[in-house]
């Protein structure tokens, strides 16, 4: 992606803060758009209806999910057997299946109407935010990599290391309140950063492709942590033969944010702070400028006097630190009773989709993570209530990203008018995906 031949490329690097002060925030994924005026082309896309595109993409993905649900529903199958004698039965069965599924999805993620009072009814929303918490952190990590042109697939390994380090500090030492929590979190962040930095150093010093190295490091981390967890005297809980660590000391556990009836912890506040920090880093700091310069065109960055190799290392350190934070959140906020080698729960890969959906902008990632958190929280309810496997959520999530990435497809499906940037169709086509910088 580094040197796509688009005329709009050069302006992407021009630093002109406040060039479009009048631009307002337009949609869920473009929260940052008003401030991030560097992507002039991307901004034009947003103004010419990208928020609409995003919403329609979600709608289209949900429709696809509904079709899947209807196709596999038993009642629909039975009713379609006599479709030509009583077609209404089939349609009512489809309606039952789909509305039941999405109804429980909503009740599991936003507000549960079957509860009498607000305190219980709003509980699903807090669940959504809890599920979103690690996704924000890890998604930010992947996004930082994307902005610097690096693809960090190593989320799994970095989360495992982050979780293991935070967990170890959490159960091996008994420290005073406050200090313990911070130390465990710092250990997690550091471990994630170092594990990821390894890939950065290898890329900088030897030219090893970061995609291949981070994939490999995922497996190495998994087996290493498995070994530590199944060896006495290391991470394994004393007096147990299971590959599982002891539980955390109470002082290392994140306090609940809204009282004990909700699972939401202060981890959520931490990731909001992290989102601010990443926004500042990428858009206001010189380090972030170097990241984006390297991401746009490493050769130009080198000519401009940026040390590209060191930048690779810094990018991976920061990316890994954020993902390590997600790992620490897993052991300090979610599963505090001891962790296994499955503590990452696939979040390292979910983070990639989150970063893509958020178009690698910090606030975009934040809202994307909340959407995915909602789908996850609702998906579990849907599975429990309606018996629909939670895997449907993966389908919906991936379709959303796929559709959002291809605005022309959405426009074709919904017969929307073409954006006014028709004057330079080639450039705008490239600009559309330019926002998510990869490779």
């Amino acid at each position: 992606m580094s040197d796509t031949e688009s005329p709009g490329n050069s302006q992407a690097l021009v630093d002109d803060p406040g060039a479009q002060p009048g631009d307002t925030v337009t949609g869920q994924d473009e929260g940052e758009a008003g401030t991030d005026s560097r992507f002039g082309g991307a901004l034009r896309e947003i103004v010419s209806g990208s928020a609409v595109i995003s919403i329609l993409a979600v709608v289209l993905a949900m429709v696809a999910g509904a079709i899947l649900i209807a196709l596999t529903d038993q009642t629909v199958h039975a009713a379609s057997g006599y479709f030509f004698s009583r077609p209404a039965d089939t349609f009512s069965a489809i309606w039952q299946a789909v509305s039941g599924a999405y109804g429980s999805l909503f009740q599991g993620s936003v507000y549960n109407f079957s509860r009498p009072d607000f305190v219980d009814g709003i509980r699903p929303l807090t669940e959504t935010l809890s599920f979103a918490t690690p996704l924000v952190a890890a998604g930010l990590g992947v996004a930082v990599g994307f902005r610097a042109g690096m693809f960090n697939i190593g989320g799994r390994g970095q989360m495992l290391f982050g979780a293991a380090a935070a967990g170890w500090v959490g159960f091996a030492f008994d420290l005073p309140p406050g200090i313990h929590l911070v130390l465990a979190l710092a250990a997690g962040i550091l471990a994630g950063a170092l594990w990821s930095g390894l890939a950065g150093i290898l890329k900088a010093r030897t030219g090893a492709h970061e995609v291949i190295v981070t994939i490999m490091l995922n497996y190495v981390a998994f087996y290493l942590i498995s070994y530590l967890l199944s060896t006495k005297g290391l991470l394994q809980a004393p007096g147990s033969n299971n590959p599982k660590s002891p539980g955390m000391y109470p002082n290392a556990i994140f306090p609940r944010l809204l009282g004990s009836q909700y699972n939401l912890t202060i981890g959520f506040l931490l990731v909001i702070a992290a989102t601010f920090a990443v926004w500042w880093l990428l858009n206001r700091s010189s380090l972030g400028f170097r990241f984006r310069a390297v991401g746009e065109n490493p050769n130009a960055a080198r000519v401009a006097g940026i040390n590209v190799k060191n930048t690779y290392v810094f990018v991976m350190l920061i990316s890994g630190a954020l993902i390590g934070m997600a790992g620490a959140n897993q052991v300090q906020g979610v599963i505090t009773t001891g962790f296994t080698s499955g503590i990452d729960a696939g979040l390292g890969f979910d983070a990639i989709t989150v970063a893509l959906l958020g178009r690698s902008r910090p606030w975009g990632v934040f809202w994307a993570a909340i959407l995915f958190g909602a789908l996850k929280a609702g998906g579990f309810t849907m599975q429990a209530v309606e018996g629909i496997p939670i895997d449907i959520i993966l389908v919906v999530q991936s379709l959303i990203v796929l559709f959002i990435a291809a605005p022309p497809l959405i426009r074709a499906v919904f017969r929307l008018p073409q954006p006014r940037a028709k004057l330079r169709p080639k450039a705008s086509a490239v600009q559309g995906k330019k926002a998510v910088v990869t490779k």
Binding site: M1, R205, T206, A208, M216, D391, Q397, S398, V401, T438
Partner: protein
């Protein structure tokens, strides 16, 4: 680790002299000798200094019962073998250092010999008092590597034509899923295999359509397709396959076919010629892809579309059509690899049964420098390392199994960092061609 010494040209000769020697730079890369040296140190410590329990005799079994003539089992004294291997490894490392000092490259065959020697020494050390079944080790290698090889070939074709294929995992999984269903319904494994090719191709269609028609970033499409296929197959597995396992998820498998005569050659026979049809197709595919890529018009067009699409377009090649159909072809090849899971190895579809094989195949593509033969070798290396862990688990491994399982990935990192170095992808791979 790279030292650059430059000899500034001797242009300060006699005034008026017309001979001007140009400045030259010699680039010495010390990575290979350092890597070889560190492994040699490990070898000395492990093989020569650490004493293993057991009888002190390591046995290598070379024959199976069906061979023309039985080869005697190789019995070696463990300690002495370790010492000899260590000395040889040190000598090779020194030779590599000497070559680099002379500003010459370390040839790849030296590294291959080194690796084989190291592995031999390791096996002898690990198998003290036990028996290593060499044919079994290699048969498992080919078996485990087969889907990886299909996946790697898919990646090679796709990237050579200019489309990054992260979706190998999805293509494998789709192939496995569809092969299981179709083979269960039709009771014909061949039909299942064909259906798997179609399934892989469908995944490729999406990849190609989005990346070529809509210019969506190819890595994004690939990653998302993996998630999509994983979600779809898992969802359909839970809702359709597992309630109707008898009807939909009990595929007829391919039988093992022994090729007459060839299958009775010691070691090579059981390893290569007592496999299933899919493996034989794999041999042919590797050869065809290699020949096609580098010796036919099709390959030339394919590679030019991936290296310099503008140039290809100028000479009349329809770049986007070339890309579309070759990406589809790549998907079909990966689909066959997926069918190998359900039609040969497991015999039923399970959720996420490919378990990251697509990513390993991707690593093999990069490790193999986008070359079909080298990528196949890399895939075989992964298969070997995985199977080594299985075999050593049986004879009692001195190393915790987690570290054995880690080995292929560590080796890959070493290889990519130290021995392959700065790999160069096809120049236009990952970039849409916009006329």
């Amino acid at each position: 680790m790279t030292a650059v010494t430059s000899n500034v040209g001797s242009s300060h000769g006699a005034p008026g002299s017309s001979v001007v020697a140009l400045a030259t730079a010699e680039v010495k890369s010390w990575k290979a000798p350092i890597a070889l040296g560190s492994f040699a140190v490990i070898a000395v410590i492990l093989f020569a200094l650490v004493t293993r329990a057991g009888t002190g005799i390591s046995t290598f079994r070379l024959s199976t019962s069906q061979d023309f003539f039985p080869l005697p089992a190789l019995q070696l004294p463990t300690r002495a073998t370790g010492v000899v291997v260590s000395i040889l490894l040190i000598l090779i490392a020194l030779a590599a250092a000497f070559l680099v000092r002379q500003s010459r490259r370390v040839p790849i065959w030296v590294i291959v010999i080194y690796a084989i020697l190291f592995m031999f020494g390791f096996l002898a050390w690990a198998a003290s008092g036990g028996t290593v079944p060499i044919p079994g080790l290699l048969i498992g290698t080919v078996g485990l590597a087969t889907p990886l090889i299909f996946g790697a070939l898919s990646g090679v074709i796709s990237e050579r034509v200019g489309v990054v294929n992260i979706a190998i995992e999805g293509q494998l999984l789709a192939g496995a899923f569809v092969a299981a269903i179709v083979s269960s319904i039709t009771r014909q494994p061949v039909v299942g295999l064909l259906a798997a090719m179609v399934a892989g191709m469908l995944v490729s269609f999406v990849l190609a359509a989005f990346s070529i028609k809509y210019f969506v970033d190819q890595i994004i499409v690939g990653v998302v397709l993996n998630v999509l296929v994983q979600g779809l197959t898992s969802f359909l597995y839970s809702t359709l396959l597992s309630p109707n396992a008898q009807a939909l998820n009990s595929p007829i498998q391919f039988p093992r076919v022994n090729i007459p005569v060839l299958s009775q050659i010691p070691i090579i026979g059981p390893v290569l010629f007592q496999q299933t049809v899919i493996s034989y197709i794999m041999y042919v595919t590797v050869a065809l892809v290699y020949f096609g890529l580098f010796h036919t018009k099709w390959g030339l067009r394919l590679r030019s579309s991936g290296e310099h699409p503008q140039a290809a377009d100028t000479v009349g090649i329809n770049v986007n059509r070339t890309r579309f159909w070759n990406v589809s072809l790549a998907g079909a090849i990966a689909g066959m690899g997926g069918a190998y899971y359900t039609l040969v190895v497991v015999g039923a579809f399970n959720k996420e049964m490919t378990n990251g094989a697509g990513f390993i195949a991707l690593a093999a593509v990069i490790f193999g420098r986008w070359d079909p033969i080298r990528a196949t070798m890399a895939a075989l290396l992964f298969g070997f390392a995985t199977n080594l862990q299985n075999v050593l688990g049986v004879i009692g491994s001195p190393v915790p199994s987690e570290f054995m399982l880690m080995l292929p990935y560590v080796v890959t990192i070493f290889a990519v960092a130290g021995l392959v170095g700065r790999v160069r992808a096809p120049a236009a791979s990952g970039r849409p061609y916009i006329k």
